[in-house]
């Protein structure tokens, strides 16, 4: 009898823990608004077991599917997961997005880095002026660029998050080709801007 109670209570406890971990993963996916890999998700629930994370996210995905709501959790090719708005709802609510990701100055600096990467910090400051130092700090803290020490300076690149945000490839060469292509198309359609 006592054993039975103990078993039940430990079952309840582990179920409680499962629920909490699952909610934490949902919280992470919601707040990030971008794909997260198993490692990042694992770090949130303090586990290194990819299988455990995979299992929990799968349950969460299933739950979202059953709810038939506007949101979905998707698994991407490379074991990454994203919580996002179902594409069909996007047109009706897009106009509610009113805040830009970045103001114009930092966005300019970011665009230059994306186009010329990997690029040395002094070159960016040359082109963008001394305000660029502030922009770089901001871009780095938002996880849009990385700054790697090279000798006495830093080498700048955009991050995976940058690629995800703008829907570009994670492969640098592909991304640059994509950017160039879109850029050329864009220049063609806006000739008065030249």
């Amino acid at each position: 009898m006592l054993e039975e109670i103990e078993r039940k209570s430990s079952e309840l406890l582990s179920e409680e823990k499962l629920k909490r971990d699952s909610a934490l993963l949902e919280a992470a996916l919601y707040v990030a608004g971008r794909p997260l890999d198993l490692k990042s998700l694992g770090s949130i629930i303090k586990t290194r077991s990819k299988r455990k994370v995979q299992r929990l996210v799968s349950i969460l995905m299933e739950e979202y599917k059953n709810r038939e709501t506007a949101l979905e959790i998707l698994e991407l090719d490379d074991e990454r997961f994203v919580l996002q708005l179902k594409a069909e709802y996007s047109p009706q609510v897009q106009r509610l997005a009113i805040r830009p990701l970045l103001s114009k100055g930092p966005l300019k600096t970011l665009s230059y880095i994306a186009y010329r990467q990997p690029v040395l910090q002094p070159q960016v400051v040359d082109v963008r002026g001394h305000h660029a130092y502030g922009h770089l700090r901001q871009l780095e803290s938002m996880g849009l660029i990385s700054r790697e020490r090279v000798g006495r300076t830093r080498l700048l690149r955009t991050t995976g998050f940058f690629a995800d945000y703008f829907g570009l490839s994670h492969d640098l060469r592909t991304m640059k080709r994509q950017l160039k292509r879109v850029f050329e198309d864009f220049e063609k359609t806006e000739p008065e801007k030249k």
């Binding site: 919601y30 707040v31 608004g33 708005l85 897009q94 509610l96 997005a97 009113i98 805040r99 830009p100 990701l101 970045l102 114009k104 966005l107 300019k108 600096t109 970011l110 665009s111 230059y112 994306a114 186009y115 010329r116 990997p118 690029v119 040395l120 070159q123 040359d126 082109v127 963008r128 002026g129 001394h130 305000h131 090279v150 000798g151 300076t153 080498l155 703008f166 829907g167 570009l168 879109v182 850029f183 864009f186 220049e187 806006e190 801007k193």
Partner: protein
């Protein structure tokens, strides 16, 4: 009254204040009524029928000192009172920042629009993108530094002369006017020389966010150093 033979009557309180100057330092001048003391002193002398000029002189001197002390205090009182620092304003606790996902309005089109502007700027400054991101290794042969500096200085002098001509009464010169008709390479060299001039403080450069031209002003009393050449 004159119980002590050794000590004259004016060494008794309260008159002693006028004759024992060290006592004076310990008493607040406001607590001393000069007129009362002097009147008592005179009355006492009259009563006794003896006039002590030395003691009168001392009483007069002490009275003047006490009077001076009072005046000083009065002047001090007249100084505007120090503004009492108001208590610090209520500083509320930090607000709790709720976490919410928010779809931002920035799209790849925005990124490309600004990229177009940045690349135009890059072209304007003649800053050739460094094809190799790694620091270039020093070439086998470096021109002697002195010679190089002399050359730069000559170039700075002649550019400065040109700028003075172009200014002619106006306050500023447009960079586009300076490089009008020049080959691309020459324009780049001119820009670099201009940066050297700016660095020595001979000229100041600036640019409006929405303009592609650089404005140049000449500063007569050149200031060396300072961060004057700010390119936006």
């Amino acid at each position: 009254m004159s119980s002590s033979i050794e000590k004259p009557f004016y060494f008794q309180p309260p008159l002693n204040v006028l004759f024992e100057l060290d006592k004076l330092q310990k008493i607040l001048p406001w607590d001393i009524s000069i007129s009362f003391l002097l009147t008592s002193f005179l009355n006492e002398m009259e009563k006794r029928g003896e006039v002590d000029f030395r003691a009168s002189g001392m009483a007069l001197d002490s009275s003047a000192t006490i009077y001076l002390m009072k005046s000083k205090l009065l002047l001090k009182l007249e100084e505007p009172p120090l503004p009492s620092k108001p208590p610090p304003d209520f500083s509320p606790p930090p607000l709790f920042l709720p976490l919410r996902y928010e779809l931002t309005s920035t799209t790849i089109q925005h990124l490309l629009t600004v990229l177009d502007e940045v690349l135009t700027g890059e072209r304007l400054f003649g800053l050739k993108p460094r094809s190799e991101p790694i620091l270039p290794s020093p070439p086998d042969f470096l021109p002697p530094v002195d010679l190089y500096m002399m050359e730069i200085e000559e170039k700075m002098k002649s550019l400065y002369r040109l700028l003075r001509q172009l200014v002619s009464g106006e306050k500023l010169v447009f960079f586009s006017k300076v490089i009008a008709g020049l080959e691309k390479l020459e324009a780049i060299k001119t820009f670099i020389t201009l940066l050297f001039l700016a660095q020595t403080g001979k000229v100041a450069l600036w640019q409006e966010e929405d303009s592609s031209d650089i404005f140049i002003t000449l500063s007569e009393g050149s200031v060396v150093g300072g961060d004057r050449a700010e390119i936006i």
